[in-house]
Amino acid sequence: MNGNAANRVEGEGQIDTATSEERVPVAPRAAEGELRSRLERGDEEAYADLWRRFGPAIQRFAMARLGGDSELAEEVMVQTLAAAVRSARSFDPRRSSLSTWIHGIARRVIQGELRTRQRRKSVPTSVQVPMEMGVELAAEGDLAASSASRLEAQRKVALLADELSDAEMEALLLHFVEEFSLKEIAQIVGRSPRAVHSLLHRAKQKARERLEKHDE
């Protein structure tokens, strides 16, 4: 999660099974075990630590998976952190990092939302404004330009969501946005690294083809 996706893309075709901890040692497993113990004891400062470390990333992951619905994404983040506190006892730092463990929980919460609400794979109505409006806004300053750029990027992602399967979209997001390695993604989605490698390879190929067709 703390790795650099831009560096990783050059290794396409090879299975990258290095964990983020191997790339950037930010949170030793012992510290994660300590955090688990504090969560189990009901230490409220540990709750705040958990939120600081994972709240925004979980919310972003949820937004991406739920078509940009920010309110629902926040709800997913809240549910995920609460579930993590309830299940803290089951986290084993020898088996996974806290980051992959908690993203695994988030994934299940998101899947529950996707199942129950049968959300369409599209950009939500709230951000479906004409591109011309975005361009006009862009002229008004950097913030607007940034919004227009994000809007265009979201439109492209919406095209991908129509073309790719849920599993493929999920793999792309975990890899490029959350910056997990193949091994970490495998832990999160419960597949083998090789299966994730195949899935991601297929997803990238389809995504590139779709976006190139769009740009033509």
């Binding site: 996706a5 709750y47 579930a83 993590a84 506190v85 089951s90 750029s149 090789r194 299966a195 195949s198």
Partner: protein
């Protein structure tokens, strides 16, 4: 478009959001922590009370022999393997559906049925409305296996040598869906923290009841995806054995979820049942795309690259 540009598009679409103050999240975590503490405290009190009562009873009866957990384990392992080569109609369902506050058990409301005999096997998962959602199975005589996924409107058909299918089908009755074969059961009981045995009744018939008590295993150890997040809670599984035949009749499970709710499910097998003709033939609904994959010499090892959704029957995945 190269990979770097693709990464840029995705990262631009979903920058790190500005999140609201953590009040709601913190309140939810505090509540979750409190609920877990209360739940554990209640379970501990109950266990202590039960232990005290049992201790008194043992002292009163002058018994000193410990529970014969080894015998119970062997009984269950043997019973799980005893039904090989019998036809079976098996059902699985949730008696007391519930889910924790994260709503994570919704898929558990689906109903499941399976059939197995030396002629083949089949496992269907239906929606609560009775619509077929997933079907997996094999027809020994015809030499094929299938995997149907209603959501994807696709069915994958594998050609598998009949002898391989025959061997699998012969073992399948005992391991149908949720009742495991003896090897799997051995692994399962060895993971249990406690194993106990007692006499009981099911629908008025005497049975031997073997109870496995355990802590649901950590997330990454549990291969069952639907159960992946349900780890770290207490789990009791009661297995019912026919004392005359020594075969496993069924089971009932109790999961004491972190939310404080209890999920109850059960799984029953009807041995020697007549299986309706055509059960092991799969006819895809109209409009469903049929895809073919080549079977290899070993069950489950097939050319997974040609399965569009990337899910083979089981590991190992073939090398690419």
């Amino acid at each position: 478009m190269n990979e770097r540009e693709l990464a840029s598009v995705l990262q631009a679409a979903w920058p790190m959001p500005e999140v609201a103050p953590p009040d709601r999240a913190l309140a939810a975590m505090v509540e979750a922590g409190r609920s877990v503490a209360e739940h554990r405290s209640g379970r501990r009190r109950m266990a202590l009370a039960l232990a005290a009562v049992m201790g008194l009873a043992v002292m009163a009866m002058g018994l000193v022999a410990p529970t014969n957990a080894r015998r119970a384990r062997n009984l269950l392992i043997s019973a799980a393997g005893a039904a090989a080569n019998m036809s079976i109609v098996h059902s699985w369902g949730i008696l007391v559906p519930t889910h924790d506050s994260a709503g994570l058990l919704l898929s558990g409301h689906d109903s499941q049925e399976s059939w197995a005999s030396p002629e083949g096997w089949r496992w269907d998962i239906c929606t609560p409305g009775g619509e077929l959602r997933i079907s997996r199975g094999a027809n020994v005589a015809a030499g094929y296996a299938w995997w149907y996924d209603a959501e994807r409107r696709k069915v994958m058909v594998f050609s598998v040598p009949a002898d391989v299918l025959r061997e699998e089908a012969a073992r399948r009755p005992a391991r149908s869906a949720h009742l495991m074969d003896s090897a799997s059961m051995q692994e399962h009981v060895e993971k249990a923290d406690e194993v106990s045995e007692e006499e009981g009744q099911v629908e008025g018939m005497p049975v031997l009841k073997v109870t496995l008590s355990s802590l649901a295993r950590p997330a990454n150890e549990d291969p069952g995806e639907d159960w992946r997040v349900f780890a770290g809670f207490d789990l009791d599984e009661e297995y019912y054995i026919d004392p005359a035949e020594g075969i496993l009749l069924g089971m009932r499970g109790y999961a004491f979820l972190p939310s404080g709710k209890t999920l109850v499910w059960e799984s029953w097998s009807d041995y020697g049942s007549e299986i309706a003709p055509g059960t092991f033939d799969f006819s895809p609904p109209s409009g469903v795309e049929v895809l073919h994959a080549d079977g290899a010499g070993e069950w489950g090892v097939c050319d997974c690259r040609r399965i569009p959704w990337g899910v083979p029957f089981r590991e190992p995945y073939p090398s690419e």
